[in-house]
Each structure stands twice: as structure tokens, then as C-alpha cells.
Amino acid sequence: MVIKDIDDALEEALSKIEKGRNLEELENFRIEYLGKKGAVNSLSKGIPNLSVEDKKEAGIALNKAINEITTALETRKKTLMETSTKENSSDLTLPGNIPLKGSLHITTTAIREITEIFKKLGFTRVRYPEVELDYYAFEALNMPKNHPARDEWETFFITDNVVLTPHTSSGQVREMEKGKLPIRMINISRCDRRQSDVSHGTTFFQFEGLLIDKGINITHLIGVIDYFVKHFYGPNRKIRLRPTNFRFTEPSFEIDINCALCEGRGCRFCKEGWMELGGSGMVHPNVLKAGKIDPEKFSGFAFGWGVERTYLMKSGVNIDDIRIMYRNDLRFLKQF
């Protein structure tokens, strides 16, 4: 009986081991059959009760079983390891299995970088309506209805009083209306303008900085913009201010940055060594009043620049038609 049990156990063990899928399973089988509480051991406990001849036979059968199980385990282990080595080593010069590459839109990356720099100066990021009242987009910014200054922004209208905002400046008075001072705001939002050419698409993003406090003057505007430019473009970059005109700032300035390529000598990418960044100025008293802030007590400055343009100038990426940014061709998107 015992001998038959031993033979059965051996057969069972060999059949299982043959199909063993991994080293862990093999180890489990070893414990199951050859371990302290294993099959072989418990069967061996029945041997002392046998007759002398049977004892001898059983002993032989038991040893055979132990040897064959051990050999089978080793053979199977070897086979498993060989197969896995074959599968996993092979030719490492082949390309790896790269997971599908995703990407963020270049404007998202640009916005993050820009926001980070201004956060260091205590600015808080906000966002205001993209479809906005004419009041906030123009009237509150010292541009009454039909004023010629409005021509500078080619605007899409929904009704006479509702527009697609052409600039993030529409957020200035909204921010002021929150009633909290001082203000250090960076408003980054989508804008739309009624123009389409290689340097302008209809939809684009702008970032607008607004700082209002006591005793703010032109030197502070220079300070903040200079800080941004040095952190965004590099420590050796310089800015300069040129006079211009916006109805909602007085004085108003165009900000230029020195050309990185020719270092001020003049080249085909810049104007006499300088490149335009965007507009800025000291907030006009009428705008402060529209925001219920007393211009006798507070003053401030604002600047509004294009996100795409600002960012592209940095990387020196020569995109010849800016509208490609919104065509969403994966061949473009995946590059960033």
C-alpha cells in the first residue's frame, strides 16, 4: 500500500512539476512533496510498520521518488530560466517598447513657466471671462463707444455690448472690483482678434500683469519687467522702454528686449538690435476710478503680452506661421 502511495505521489509530483510556470510554483511543489510536512515525509512515516521485505522495497521506492522529484525540479527550473533569458535578453540594440508619448500644448507649458516667475514676486494667477462685456473690454479702460483707439483691437462682436475679448486688459477692472488692495495679479487667458496672417491667428493667449499699491511709479514697472525678462530669457538680457499710447495707461510704453542673436548689432530677426515684447504703462486714473480705487492714494502699472510670441522668442523656434499652433497637427504637438 505504502509503495503504491509512493508511486502515485511520484507520478503526481512529476506531472505537476512538468507544468510548473515559475520558480515560485516549483518551490511550492518542493515543499509540498519534499518538505518537512510534505508528502514524501508523511509517507515515510508508514515504513516502520511494514514487513522486512516490504521495508526494503519501500525504502528503495522512497529514495527513487526523492531523487526523481529533485531532478525533475532542477530540470524544470533550468528550462524555465533558459526560456526567460531567451525572451528577455535577445537583441538590446533593437528599439525599446516606449509607451505612447503624450504631450502638453506649448501654450500650457509657456503659461506654467510665466506664472512661476511672477509667483516669486507675490503675484496671484487669475482668469476672467473670454466672452466679455464691452464695458470691461473697452469702456472701463477709458475707451468710450466709437472711440478711434478701439481700432487698434480688431474685435469680434456678439451683440453691441458683448464681445470676444481681444486683450486680457479686460480683467483689470474686474480685479479691482474685488475690492482688495494691494493687487498683484497675473491674468492669463484666451483672447480673440479679427485678424489672420502669418504672425497672428484669430485665437491666442495673453498674460496681463497688474500691480496696484501705494507709491508705485515707473521704476517699479521697469523692475518687475526686468525681473521677468532676466528669469525667463536669461541673466544677460536687457529691456528698454519706448513711448507709445494706450488709453488705459499714462504714460504708456513699448517694451523691447535686446536681441540674443546679434547682441545689439542688428540682424534680420530684430530691429536694430532690439525686439518688441509688448505694451505696458502706468494705470490711467480713469481706470482706477472705474475700479473704485482712489488715484490720489494708489497707483499702479500694467502690462499685457502675447504668450505664444513671448515663449517662441525664448526658444528661438522659428515658426514661420503662428497659426500652426492651433491646427493641432500631431506632428507639431508631439514635438513639445
Partner: protein
């Protein structure tokens, strides 16, 4: 608006040793931007960008004034040569020619000046006049018309010359037009007018001038003209601008009138024009000077508090230096610290801050130091919206999605292809083209368009967009503008459960746990959170898509992680297989297992296998029984298992096969 100014012409009013390059460089730093120097036939011509607030710079003399104030700051010699026209003698005797003028509303034309000239001989202008007109981009026509155009570019004062004998009855009425009146202007175009354009009619009642914009063909100067009515004026700027927009036509003259004319320059411009006409066309003054003013010119005085001005600029500019700057720009100190604004800057300078700008720009912005503001940093938390937007975007990026940014509006065609209706969308009143006409109220149509576009180059496409959409509300109010997060997977291998998994992973990333998917049909399921529909997942031929109301999602996001103590006792894991009819949903049963917990023991279930048989599905779930403190005996586990099997049968009608 850009204008062209030949350097040689500029020197009529500016004596300087500066080169054209130096003029360009220095003026651009302190005044208008000179964008380029054109070389034309040996002449250097400045291209100047004039901002709308500086109509005085829409002329050669205006630029000369600016340059004369700026160049000395850079150690260049520069002196302004003012205009000194001859005063002419009026003719008021019985032989004098007359003009019967009626102005219906003086506000339309605050100053109307005119003089009649005879003895005119029409021929070509002198070479220098012809050449200069060409350099600034206009055609020379004849000696009389050229004088009017020349004056406009030279002095910034548009003016008009009529053939006096074509004016019926020598009578003029200046009034507003009625809607529908027509006039054939000098360019031969028959224009239909809106109401309230400023026009002049003659004695026969026909219109002879579209004031401020263009003269009428019926009264134009031709080769037979013998007597000329020279007419120099200023108009209501808003009306001029409004009319130009209504008729979609704008001229150089209108561009100047709509921004404002130098009121006190009108007479001297007229005098200079008469001087030129007598020289070039033999003209003789044959009438009185007609000068009708709505009201007398009011001087504009602005208080200059130099301390305040310095506080705007940020540096202390010496009072004497500041005063000298103002003087160089034509500001006259009338009383201590009270400055009279020069007539050519009347529209632009209103308040003290404007004076600060004048002083600061001439002083030189490049002389100002770089100073970071010192004030306190505003308190208050940033809107968490941006944090979660970034999290969602980063998650999707790492799942292989590419972020798209599509334009705010699209075409009816793309809307309809994406199963949206143009009627439901907000329409732009003045679109640029049909491609950008309707504001989107869903991101799906444009993303589908992107899939179609990219299909030709990619087999596996995963795209998403997080952006605002716009829903119609009451007409004159703002639309309902809120953010949505939409994504589409297009490839051969991905399944709806892959898509669902992506969305579930996203929700997990945003800290949202209590959500449900309610299946609507074979292709679609709604995502709900706390019974609120937040979005859906859907399968279509163009891809598998998810579309979520991100604004609502933000109500349920969280960053808080509460710590759950790691159990000190081991768990018991076993497989459980149950069979469910093919047309029934297995999700609820699986979820039920998870809820079969109490305070002492919790169950978790992981789907490991789905096996399709003939009319049933065999669902295998790996169940983990975890106690908090005590070791779980087989008996206890067995008891729970029994209960579980019973409930599954009762509640869901599933048959459990033992593992």
C-alpha cells in the same frame, strides 16, 4: 497709422546736424517710433508709426517739432523753424466775390474758413511739389489740387478746393445727410450715405461735398477752372469716424479729422495755401476771409505739481530741467506751475499724468533705474482651479494623450459633423470668415475634426482639450462660459473599458471617489457624482470619447489624503466565480461585494477574469478578507462567504460557482 516723411522735407522745419539714422534712433527712444528709413531715388524717407493720440504727428511740421525737442537731449543741434505764411489782403469791395454760407449745426463744423481766388491757371505743379507728393505716396494732379494735398501732409491740415463756378448760386449749406442720399465722390464712386454724415449742398440742392472725407465730382477742379473756393475747416471727429465706418471708406483727410485738428493752425494753413496758390497758379484773392466759429478757442491749462510728477516717474528730476522740457514741447507757463497746452496737443493732454509722460519721455526712460516694488505681498489663496487643471492635464499626458488647443469658434460645417447644431451656438456678428463663425458649446466637433486630420499620419491617436465652452443665454448678457475636459482615443486595440479606465484613473488623480457610471446603451454611459451628471463616455466610428463638465468636477475634487492604518494581521484571499446572464450587467454585483464590510472586517474585490459561455458569463473575482486586529479563522471567512453568496443570489440573481 504710419506716415512717410522725407528727410529733406523735414528740414524745411528742422535745422539739424543729425543724420537720418541718428534722427531715427533718438526720436524713437523719446517720441514716435520711426520704423524704417526708405531709400527712394537718393532720398531718405522716414516711415513713422503715429499712435492715435498724436494727430499732430501726422504731418512733417509735427515731426519736426518733436525732433527739435528730442535731438538736443542727445547733444545734436536741432532748431525748429516755424511756419511764417504771408498774410493776404482780403478783397471786400463791390467787385468782391461772395459765398452764401449756411451752417445748419455749428457743432458739425466748429470752424469754417474759406476764401475765393480768381485768375487761376491750371497746370502742373513745380517739380519739388510733384516729387514730394510722390515720396509720401500720393499722386500729383495739378497745381491747385496739389496745394491742398501738400498742405495736408506738410501741416496736418486737410483742405479742399472747389471750382467756384460749379457751385450753383454760389451758395452752400452745411448739414447732416438724410439716409439714402447719394453723392458721386472725386474717385467716381456713387456713394449711398447713412443719415448724419456731414455734407454740403449747393444752391441747386445737389450734394457737392462729403465733408472731411472726399469732395464731390460735380464741383471738382478741372483744367478749365478759373476761380477757386479754398476751404479749410475742422469737423466733429466722432461723426467723421462714424461715417467712414458706415460707408467703409476712409481717406487720409478723414484719418486726420477723426483724430482732431490743430484749431489755431487753421488760419495759418489757409494763408500758406493762398501763398502757394498765388505762386504756382497765379491766383489772386478775390473775396473776404470767411471765418465762422462755433465758439472761441478755450485755452487749456493744466496744473503741474512737480513733486507729484516726480512721484509718478520715480526719480527726482530737477524742476528747471522739467520746465525746460515742457517749454521745448510748446507748453507755455501761464502762471506759476500752470501750463497752457499747445493747440496741436489739445486732444491728447488732459491731466497731470499726461505732463508726467511728456517730461519722462524726453528725460529718457533709459535714464530710469530698475527697482522692484517693496510693498506687502497680497494675502489670500490662489484659486485651486489651476492646480487641478494642471493635475488633469499631466495625468492625461502621461497616459499618452496630446493636448490640443482649438480656436474659440468654428464653422457650421464642423459643428454639424460633430452632431452639434449651429442654431444652438452663439453666432459672431462680424465674423472674419465662415471658418470662425460660431462659438463652440462642446469641444467634441473640433476634436473630431482633429482626429480626421491626423488619421492620415497616425494610427494611434489620443488627444484631449481642457477649455471653456459658451452656452447661449439672454441676448445682451454674457453667455454661460464654463470649462469642459474632452478626450478622444482612436486606435485599433483600445476598448471602451480602456477608456473607462482612463477616466477612472483621472477621477482618482483628482481625489474623486464617489462616482457612478450609468449605462445608457451599448455605446454610451453617463458619469454621475452624487447623482449629478458630470459627463459621459461614448463610442463612435471616429473614436472613443469622454466628455466631462470640468466646472462641476471641481466641486468634488479633493487633495486631502486621510491615512488608514496598515493592518497588522494578514488577509485571506480567495477566488470567487459567479455566473450571470449574458444580457445582464455584472458591475453592480462586483461593487456589492466591496460594500459587504463591517467595522471589523472589510472586503475588497478585484475582477480577474471574464469568461464567455453560451448564454452566461463567468465572472471571477479575487476577494480579500481583511480584519483589523484579529486573525481571521477559516470559520469566520466561511460564514461571511456563505452570507455573501446568499445575498448575491437574492439581490442580483447570480449563481456562484465555488472556486
Amino acid at each position: 497709422m504710419n506716415i512717410l516723411v522725407p528727410f529733406s522735407w523735414l528740414k524745411d522745419y528742422l535745422k539739424t546736424d543729425a543724420s537720418a539714422k541718428e534722427v531715427t534712433k533718438f526720436v524713437s527712444l523719446c517720441g514716435p517710433s520711426i520704423e524704417r528709413i526708405h531709400e527712394v531715388g537718393g532720398e531718405e524717407v522716414f516711415e513713422v508709426e503715429v499712435t492715435p493720440n498724436r494727430p499732430d504727428l501726422l504731418s512733417v511740421i509735427g515731426l519736426a517739432r518733436e525732433a527739435s525737442a528730442i535731438l538736443p537731449r542727445f547733444k545734436k543741434e536741432a532748431e525748429f523753424i516755424s511756419l511764417n505764411p504771408e498774410e493776404f489782403s482780403e478783397k471786400g469791395d463791390k467787385d468782391a466775390l461772395t459765398l452764401d454760407v449756411t451752417i445748419k449745426n455749428n457743432k458739425l463744423c466748429p470752424r469754417f474758413t474759406a476764401v475765393i481766388l480768381d485768375n487761376v491757371v491750371i497746370k502742373e505743379s513745380p517739380e519739388i511739389i510733384k516729387k514730394r507728393l510722390e515720396l509720401v505716396g500720393t499722386r500729383a494732379l495739378n497745381n491747385v489740387i496739389d496745394v491742398t494735398n501738400y498742405s495736408m501732409f506738410d501741416l496736418g491740415q486737410p483742405m479742399h478746393a472747389f471750382d467756384y463756378d460749379k457751385i450753383t448760386g454760389h451758395k452752400l449749406i452745411l448739414r447732416e445727410s438724410k439716409e439714402g442720399e447719394t453723392i458721386i465722390t472725386l474717385d467716381g464712386v456713387n456713394r449711398k450715405l447713412p443719415e448724419d454724415a456731414i455734407v454740403m449742398e449747393d444752391g441747386s440742392g445737389r450734394l457737392i461735398d462729403l465733408c472731411g472725407i472726399m469732395g464731390g465730382k460735380n464741383s471738382e477742379i478741372d483744367e478749365n477752372t478759373k476761380r477757386v473756393l479754398l476751404f479749410v475747416q475742422t469737423y466733429d471727429s466722432f461723426k467723421i469716424r462714424k461715417t467712414c465706418q458706415a460707408i467703409s471708406h476712409r481717406t487720409e483727410a478723414a484719418a486726420r479729422f477723426e483724430k482732431g485738428i490743430d484749431y489755431l493752425g487753421i488760419i495759418s494753413s489757409l494763408q500758406r495755401a493762398v501763398e502757394m496758390l498765388s505762386k504756382n497758379a497765379g491766383a489772386r484773392v478775390a473775396s473776404n476771409l470767411i471765418d465762422i466759429e462755433e465758439s472761441k478757442y478755450q485755452k487749456k491749462l493744466i496744473k503741474a505739481d512737480f513733486n507729484k510728477i516726480n512721484s509718478v516717474i520715480g526719480v527726482s528730476i530737477e524742476k528747471e530741467e522739467a520746465k525746460a522740457i515742457l517749454r521745448s514741447l510748446g507748453f507755455i507757463e501761464k502762471e506759476p506751475d500752470q501750463y497752457e497746452v499747445p493747440s496741436w496737443r489739445y486732444q491728447d493732454v488732459e491731466i497731470e499724468e499726461d505732463l508726467a509722460e511728456e517730461i519722462a519721455r524726453i528725460y529718457g526712460y533709459f535714464n530710469l533705474p530698475i527697482i522692484l516694488p517693496e510693498g506687502i505681498i497680497p494675502s489670500g489663496q490662489e484659486d485651486k482651479t489651476f492646480y487641478f487643471e494642471d493635475k488633469a492635464k499631466d495625468y492625461l499626458k502621461h497616459q499618452g494623450f496630446s493636448e490640443c488647443v482649438t480656436p474659440s469658434a468654428t464653422s457650421a460645417e464642423i459643428l454639424e459633423k460633430g452632431e452639434n447644431t449651429p442654431d444652438k451656438a452663439i453666432k459672431i456678428k462680424n465674423p472674419l470668415s465662415k471658418d470662425f463663425e460660431y462659438l463652440r458649446y462642446s469641444l467634441i466637433p473640433q476634436l473630431l475634426e482633429s482626429i480626421r486630420f491626423n488619421k492620415s499620419n497616425f494610427e494611434k491617436i489620443r488627444i484631449f482639450e481642457l477649455a471653456n465652452v459658451y452656452e447661449k443665454t439672454d441676448k445682451d448678457k454674457l453667455p454661460n462660459e464654463y470649462s469642459r475636459l474632452t478626450g478622444i482615443i482612436f486606435d485599433k486595440k483600445s476598448t471602451m473599458l480602456d477608456l473607462k479606465g482612463t477616466v477612472e484613473g483621472l477621477l482618482s488623480e483628482l481625489g474623486i471617489a464617489n462616482y457612478d457610471f450609468e449605462q445608457k446603451n451599448n455605446q454610451e454611459a453617463d458619469l454621475t457624482i452624487s447623482k449629478e451628471v458630470v459627463g459621459f463616455i461614448k463610442s463612435s466610428i471616429d473614436g472613443l470619447m469622454f466628455d466631462l463638465n470640468f466646472k462641476v468636477l471641481l466641486k468634488y475634487v479633493s487633495t486631502s489624503n486621510s491615512y488608514k492604518q496598515i493592518p497588522s494581521v494578514p488577509s485571506v484571499v480567495e477566488d470567487l466565480t459567479f455566473e450571470i446572464n449574458k444580457d445582464e450587467k455584472a458591475g453592480p454585483a462586483i461593487n456589492f461585494i466591496k460594500t459587504f464590510s463591517n467595522e471589523k472586517i472589510s472586503l475588497s474585490a478585484e475582477l480577474t477574469d471574464v469568461f464567455e459561455k453560451e448564454d452566461v458569463r463567468a465572472i471571477t473575482v479575487k476577494i480579500k478578507y481583511q480584519a483589523k486586529k484579529e486573525n481571521l479563522s477559516n470559520d469566520i471567512v466561511a460564514k461571511i462567504r456563505e452570507l455573501l453568496i446568499k445575498e448575491l443570489d437574492q439581490k442580483f440573481g447570480v449563481t456562484v460557482k465555488t472556486a
